[in-house]
Symmetry: C2
Subunit: 250 residues, 2 copies
DNA sequence: TGAACTCATTATGTATACATATATCTCGAT
DNA sequence: ATCGAGATATATGTATACATAATGAGTTCA
């Protein structure tokens, strides 16, 4: 019921944006495919005006690409693009961690991050990590990264990180679920959590360079997960984001 | 004449975007001020539909801020925001330089960058740098940074750098003209050019870390210029970008 | 057979009318 | 005098009609 309420209260523009985004990420609209406004109108059942705004928003979200002669097409990403986006996020989160450290995040501001860290600890402790635990991990992990980003205290940086993380395959939790299907799952989780711990410690001790380096390395776990997932091509269904991957067959 | 042609050929949306951007950067629309669609219609003489698109574009350009209840206001930046944006650009350009170095930019791709470097050398050699030389420097400097960014070969990274550099005070050439009025002008120019030379050298020798570090430091010259310009409050008129600065008086 | 041109179709660009939400100002009551 | 309610004005949200540009199919000519 609350969903129907929110559906009613939300603007047509947002509704269209959500619907189109879903179709792109689920692969119903394929990379390279042109997406005309009228087609989008049919899909979303809203008129051209909000549809057009939704398309523009999806463009700067990075999911669509403007066609020079007008209109939009679904953006296609190479594996390299994805890896670069991950490295990019790592670099920005590294900067955020450095800012937090150098500027002396107050104990009060560090508190939520530490709580989040403790919650994550509890999850990671289980040896065979249950499916639900993985799902909870994804949520908490996202929260940890969001808190860390906030801790930088830099609005321009927060903005950029949010923009990069909007691409599902570049987001901090983008490949965690895929990882759950891997034999190395628990091991990677332990390493990731160790990174989390180190970063908080470094920030607390004002070790900017250390905090930065660790966050950079941390993001490379996502790259590792991606490569592993692509190799054992099982469970790719856990990665809707890969619908955007340029297939080599094309 | 060509200007009139281009004015005619360009879409109303772009025209509105340009007009509004000018007014924001020139300070005719002040930070914090709400900018209603009808007001924008009056200013730009185009109808609400393209005006609205222009406003959305200016929002993700970073010049406007969405108001929760709808509409937009001119974004206000603190001095800290500006400094952070510069550091952010430096970090991203550093990553671009590292990519270029690690991935082995080919001699053929390095050529244009080296030419640009040589052109800059000639300008910098003059001791009292003329006004025109400064202006030429701005152009060439922008070109150098663009070429370097391209050299990373990473579309996602290029995109991000372009986004950051869209803010006038974060762009590589944002404070060069202001610098021209300073007594330290020539000295800073020499240092900047030395950075340029080192970065090219590092890329050529595949020294990724060195290239990255130098580009980071390079961006801090802009921060230095900003501080100097704000201190000797003369020649602030050379910095239209500062129209966006939150005044302490407010 | 292939290249180019024409015309029909379909796309986007723009303006505007209408609907709805939000802010403001006045007036009245406490 | 201050607070609150209601009306008025003004904002944005949405739909749609019309204008214009791009696209593609079919045909004709070299």
């Amino acid at each position: 019921m609350s969903e129907r309420d929110s559906e009613r209260s939300v603007s047509q523009t947002v509704r269209a944006q959500l619907a189109l985004r879903d179709m792109i990420l689920s692969g119903q609209l394929r990379p390279g495919e042109r997406i005309s406004e009228l087609q989008a109108v049919d899909i979303t059942h809203v008129s051209r005006t909000p549809v057009r705004l939704a398309l523009v928003r999806l463009e700067d979200e990075g999911l669509l690409q403007a066609i020079p002669s007008g209109g939009f097409m679904v953006k296609a990403f190479s594996e390299r693009d994805i890896l670069d986006s991950i490295e990019l996020r790592g670099t920005l989160e590294g900067l955020a961690a450095r800012f937090a450290a150098e500027r002396g995040a107050s104990a009060r501001n560090l508190e939520p991050l530490k709580e989040c860290l403790a919650d994550l600890d509890q999850l990671v402790r289980q040896d065979p990590v249950s499916e639900e635990a993985f799902s909870a991990y994804v949520t908490l992990n996202a929260r940890f990264h969001a808190l860390l980003t906030e801790l930088s205290g830099s609005a321009p940086l927060i903005r950029q990180i949010d923009r990069v993380s909007a691409l599902p395959f570049a987001s901090p939790s983008g490949f965690v679920m895929a990882q759950s299907a891997l034999p190395e799952a628990h091991q990677i989780l332990l390493i990731a959590q160790d990174h989390h711990r180190i970063v908080v410690d470094a920030i607390e001790n004002r070790e900017g360079t250390r905090a930065e380096a660790v966050m950079r390395e941390h993001s490379r776990l996502a790259a590792r997960n991606l490569r592993l997932a692509l190799r054992n091509r099982t469970h790719l269904d856990l990665l809707p984001a890969l619908a955007l991957l340029k297939s080599a067959a094309d």
